[in-house]
């Protein structure tokens, strides 16, 4: 099956920032994204788990979108203002898709 190269942007960010990230992705006119809760992890401050957290202030989410390489800089510039000082990270990776017209 023929596949097509695209870029995948993963934004792991604090849950209170989620709506702002999504707003920026909508403004950047991305064709789609997914949001997933993070269950647990380990960072600069040691082990962390979402279990038993009463406030969403200490929850993390992953926002994932797949886009064309030509659009990556625009999208990153758009969301960087929201996440630059927050806990979390952003990664860009190469992926292959089978229906390129959707991204």
């Amino acid at each position: 099956m023929q596949t097509h190269p695209k870029k995948r942007i993963d934004v792991i960010v604090e849950a209170p920032l989620m709506r702002r990230i999504i707003d920026r992705l909508d403004q950047a006119d991305v064709s789609g994204y997914s949001v997933m809760p993070i269950v647990a992890g380990r960072g600069h401050d040691g082990l962390w788990t979402a279990d038993g957290q009463i406030s969403n202030a200490t929850q993390m989410v992953a926002v994932v979108c797949i886009t064309d390489a030509s659009r990556v800089d625009d999208i990153l510039n758009s969301i960087f203002g929201v996440i630059s000082n927050q806990i979390g990270f952003v990664t860009i990776s190469d992926v292959a898709v089978v229906r390129p017209e959707r991204f």
Binding site: A15, P16, L17, G52, S55, T58
Partner: protein, 323 residues
């Protein structure tokens, strides 16, 4: 006083909270599913909101309502400045963390509000129903005060503090439900209360026990995880600050002439610290602040302190000083 403290400590609500704490410290796998815990807090907010509104419908609105709301807003706005000064003078916290913690202590804990109303009901001490509206009004001024402090002391705190941010804070779910249920209770009055009494009054103590069991688990686990961020001075702040805030509220309540029950509620509101609304707001407005410090203090120390010691103490003091 001792009798009151004893009654409080041996109430099923407090004992279920202690059970949760012990289970957390003992690393038990006991847990309340997250969705059920959220349903419980929705139920508790709906119940106290509706009952407050129904009582206002019964007794009518008085000028005291406006005065008490204004006093609550003033307390919520002023307490962060006291908390910030205390933290900077007695602990090694930096200005940003101190501003964030101060914001938590100016705002209120709805669950502590529920707890004090439960104890007052148990002791047959009446309080004014409109204090539900006062509780809602005291949620957000502290956030603005914390941002003012941070802006002045750290040249930050205004990055996301725009209209969108303020709308999010003002219309957060707990405030909407509390005020909404209050309005519905006020509109439907005694007829509404007669319809919902088995749900929102008779079942209330049982649901409160279940919720406080969960809060014991959450507080115990939060304290275990966050203890490493706290020095003795910072941990001590979480016990001293509620007493200072309660004393300020007692003076305010005396000034405006609140009843014994209402004075106890206002003292408890001022002494409580937020661990749901403010932490999320602070992550947006003061991202450089360490969220674990404020949450561990408010949820792990101040909430249990208020539940076990503070509430009976505030009721006893209110009994002596109020009309």
């Amino acid at each position: 006083m001792l009798d009151l403290a004893f009654q409080n400590l041996l109430s099923p609500m407090v004992l279920f909270f202690v059970l949760g704490l012990l289970a957390a410290f003992g690393r038990s796998d006991l847990s309340i599913p997250e969705a059920i815990a959220k349903l419980l807090i929705l139920y508790l907010l709906l119940s106290i909101g509706f009952r407050g509104g129904a009582e206002v419908a019964h007794h009518g609105l008085t000028g005291q309502l406006v005065t008490t709301i204004a006093a609550g807003i003033l307390l919520s706005f002023a307490i962060p400045f006291i908390a910030y000064a205390l933290l900077r003078a007695t602990t090694g916290l930096n200005a940003t963390d101190a501003a964030s913690v101060a914001g938590h202590y100016g705002s209120i804990s709805a669950v502590t509000f529920v707890a004090v109303t439960g104890v007052l009901a148990h002791l047959s001490i009446p309080y004014d129903g409109y204090l539900v509206a006062v509780a809602a009004a005291m949620e957000t001024p502290a956030i603005l005060a914390a941002l003012l402090i941070a802006r002045r002391m750290t040249a930050s705190g205004d990055r996301i503090a725009n209209g969108d941010f303020l709308r999010e804070v003002a219309f957060n779910g707990s405030i909407v439900l509390l005020i909404g249920a209050f309005a519905i209770g006020a509109i439907t009055g005694e007829r509404g209360m007669a319809m919902l009494k088995p749900f929102i009054v008779d079942a209330f103590p049982g649901f409160l026990c279940l919720f406080l069991l969960d809060m014991g688990l959450v507080a115990g686990r939060g304290l275990k995880q966050g203890w490493r961020y706290l020095s003795i001075a910072v941990a001590g702040f979480a016990v001293v600050m509620p007493l200072i805030a309660a004393a300020s509220a007692a003076a305010t309540a005396t000034l405006i002439g609140l009843s014994v029950g209402s004075t106890a509620v206002l003292m408890t509101l001022a002494a409580s610290a937020s661990y749901i609304v403010v932490p999320a707001a602070m992550r947006l407005a003061l991202p450089a602040a360490n969220p674990a410090i404020a949450l561990t203090l408010s949820l792990g120390i101040t909430f249990p302190f208020n539940l076990l010691v503070g509430i009976p103490l505030y009721i006893a003091l209110a009994t002596r000083i109020a009309q």
